[in-house]
Symmetry: C2
Subunit: 518 residues, 2 copies
């Protein structure tokens, strides 16, 4: 029972169906299984022992999928690293994880150069698609056995060591086990999307994150994994890939959906093969979701999860993603849906007691999805998993029908004059203004109130809007104490590699030199 | 994360849909949830502590389903007992499990009388549907809270303590945990039958066994659980219940399917609502399966599993249950299908080494389905779970395409003149004789060969067949050393409460007074 067996199983059932599709390259399951087995043997040949970590610094490519799967077949774990980080951050993750092997792409040779000498645990460097003096990827596979290595793998063995974006201090490695990932696969196929062998998943988002985790569900069902002809998130190339490969399925974060929805070239491509876009990673504003439903039809599935409990703690299914006039259904579009089978979600107060339905608190989760803990961080593990429940750091509520509303990250909450203000509520209102493309609401320091509400707004191209317009618009839909004290118009908002808006960075401009009190 | 939460979840989503249907009684999910919660509180009020066992001696009835679910919500475990056993066997199970509470049906008052004084761990007796001086079931529920008890339940906590029919000595209690059962539910919904809220499962087989385990999948999806108006397996009453309640789904053992298929009244009922019959517990002979497919259509799903790894280790899905001329597909009808998602199945020799594809060995299984162990039997646990794999005691092989063929129980194998003979192969041939209704092949003692092959045959009603006919029929399809040395015609074969043929009982007639050598 281990995650790599999903590929073996698919190769037995669908040997000739495409597993990886990239440009003109199509690799069927029989060959993908053989290649992954060869890589697994190669990793063992490099001295990789059960429990060892293999770090991965690769752009979206099929070798990346193989580098995710092979360690799992060899009893080792992959450390998937966000390619957009700074070399020093990669250095930290590699050293913290103690990875003995690093598989990297040739495009990162220069990026790694300044830190390479500091990677003292790495005994073997494997280079995909180039020659930096390190052994190449294809030569490493050459001559290795085609069948899975004979390794005993336990359900609680580490499979995926995922570094979360730390908001304070260094990132922490969330330890996901084979059991965590298999639970994720089963619950995903059950409640989110029953992938079929005829499906084609396009990895438009980073395979080091949710899109890479989607690999397992799709491999498990013999579906193809395709790549766009772009390494940035470039909408026309995404559209072109959907059209060319008859893509059925996408995992996106909300800002990506918004980019596709609002792109002027969308209608020039045949996107009719798409039947499912599942999205998560951040809440999606209702206005943007309605716009996306108008553009793509009722093919959206929302997920709420975390790196610590991957992909699917709650879900809002397709049949509840229907634009319409029903106020109950419209309200639920702002929710993250309900518990997935096998997952428990509660909302608790600061003493971990349940709060009544509809009241705000911290979202806590229990499931075999939940990580084993943080890598070599027993105190952070004990704190985050206290009482057997994952404390998500997300603030929200559950209504009487079981719908979970994620309001904000705990750390994004604004406390002004003693009142808790949830930025998301204000952002939803501002988003509904026709001239607004994107918005972020943060708390900024104020002598009198502690914090006050500030809205950072990106206007739609060509739209005319002033700061006063936004404040006036808010006055119509929000309690007075929630409306922004100030508005700033910006050409763009800072985002991380996954497209999440970096509120911390926005806040830092105003808080530098001050100790934040909340 | 516990199994009882599946009911809570269904009550939230489908409060008004029928949960239990029995005669004229229809109990919707909202009420079923409240009743189970009340019973859970009542069990705790009787002093039931987390980890305690609640024994159940109930016929198929909705109170039985409640008695299965309530201990799980209270952090306790149910001990579901086969109602057809001897009072001394019930005494053994109750005492061995140390159950502190016994929920029993009024029809068992006299049955229990001779052993009741020996049940020293039982502090509380609860009687369903009668008055033996014990507290009644409905009064026990009265006044208890409608909401789930606040109990911390761990994934590895015992939920279902299932006594397997011991072939030697006392039965052993297979400890199934909440994680085992949740895994079973997820894998079942994924690979066997995606139950829907509009489904109606008829509990025609015993709820203390596979049909009771099917409860969880169906409750988890808001489907109804109905009961026939019969406590024996009476085909016309099963047909009548299917027609009356528009039953969609049945779990049956092969002999039950055969009884329904061959019953002359079948065509007099409207069975058109049926869309799924899943079956397991014993291999089904291909001839009988083809007959059943002819009678009911392509609605069959085969399961292979054990009490120690419940419901679904391998499955042969509906789309492979098609009668036809394709010899590959016909051959596969004799298989138990392929691995279910998340389960590994191997075939090993006596030293636990893999045997080549197509060769016989013992089937071993690994999955989160596999029991925690045998209750208070550390040695039997270590032996059965050695190396992390469940040793099923079933002999079979896996072909190159991954299809698992279960030939026989290890203990049913015949060794004659030094050759291994698998009774199932001979039974398949004899079954194909038009005059044969049922058959069992066993080994009987022989001075020269050690054992020889004996066929015990039940002719079809009205059919004329002789012992010589059977032997001649076998000569045409079997190697000479495999054909029966003797044939005996019988009016019926002994079966256990689940409809399995009791080969041990058949063999005992011939082996009494001799030590069996294999």
């Amino acid at each position: 029972m281990h995650v790599g067996h999903l590929l073996t199983r698919a190769a037995l059932r669908h040997p000739d169906r495409p597993a990886w599709i990239q440009g003109d390259t199509v690799i069927p399951f029989r060959e993908a299984e053989a290649r992954v087995n060869r890589l697994a043997h190669a990793l063992r040949g490099m001295g990789g022992q059960p429990g060892d970590r293999v770090a991965m610094l690769l752009p979206n490519c099929y070798q990346g999928l193989e580098t995710i799967l092979a360690p799992m077949k060899a009893g080792m774990a992959v450390v998937p690293m966000n390619v957009r980080l700074h070399p020093a951050e990669h250095e930290y993750m590699i050293n913290d994880s103690g990875a003995t092997i690093l598989v990297y792409g040739a495009e990162f040779i220069e990026h790694l150069a300044p830190v390479r000498k500091n990677l003292q645990t790495v005994k073997h460097f494997v280079c995909v698609g180039g020659d930096a003096g390190d052994p190449g990827y294809e030569p490493a596979l050459h001559g290795q056995p085609d069948t899975p290595p004979d390794v005993r793998i336990e359900p609680d063995d580490l499979a995926w060591l995922f570094y979360t974006s730390g908001t304070t201090g260094h990132p922490k490695g969330a330890m996901l086990t084979h059991r965590n990932l298999l639970t994720m696969v089963e619950q995903f196929l059950l409640d989110i999307n029953p992938a079929r062998p005829t499906d084609v998943l396009l990895h438009a988002a980073a395979i080091t994150h949710g899109s890479g985790l989607s690999l397992f569900h799709h491999v498990g069902r013999g579906a193809a994994n395709a790549f766009p002809d772009t390494r940035a998130f470039d909408p026309p190339r995404i559209f072109a890939a959907i059209q060319r490969h008859r893509v059925t399925t996408l995992f996106l974060v909300p800002t990506m959906i918004h980019m596709l929805t609002t792109h002027p070239d969308r209608a020039r491509y045949d996107l009719s093969s798409l039947h499912t876009i599942f999205y998560g990673g951040a809440p999606m504003y209702v206005e943007q979701l309605l716009e996306a439903l108008g553009a793509f039809g009722p093919i959206f599935v929302q997920l709420f999860a975390q790196g610590e409990a991957p992909m699917t703690c709650t879900t809002l299914p397709k049949e509840e993603h229907l634009a319409g006039d029903d106020p109950v259904k419209l309200r639920r579009l702002a929710s993250a849906g309900r518990e997935v089978t096998g997952v428990r979600v509660r909302v608790v107060d600061g003493a971990d007691r349940d709060v009544p339905a509809g009241e705000m608190g911290e979202i806590v989760v229990r499931s075999d999805l939940v990580m084993k803990g943080y890598w070599q961080k027993p105190e952070a593990t004990a704190e985050t998993l206290r009482g057997g429940w994952l404390h998500t750091g997300d603030i929200g509520c559950v209504d009487a029908d079981g719908y979970v509303y994620i309001t904000d990250r705990k750390k994004d909450m604004i406390i002004s004059g003693g009142s808790n203000i949830y930025p998301r509520e204000i952002e939803e209102v501002i988003c509904a203004h026709p001239a607004v493309l994107e918005v972020a609401v943060i708390g900024v320091p104020d002598e009198k109130w502690g914090e006050t509400v500030k809205a950072l707004v990106v206007p739609r191209p060509g739209a005319q809007v002033t700061e006063a317009d936004i404040i006036e618009h808010c006055q119509r839909g929000l309690a007075s104490y929630k409306k922004p004290h100030s508005v700033e118009l910006l050409p763009a908002l800072p985002k991380n590699a996954y497209g999440k808006i970096l509120k911390r960075e926005l806040r830092d401009r105003y808080w530098t030199g001050r100790a934040r009190k909340i």
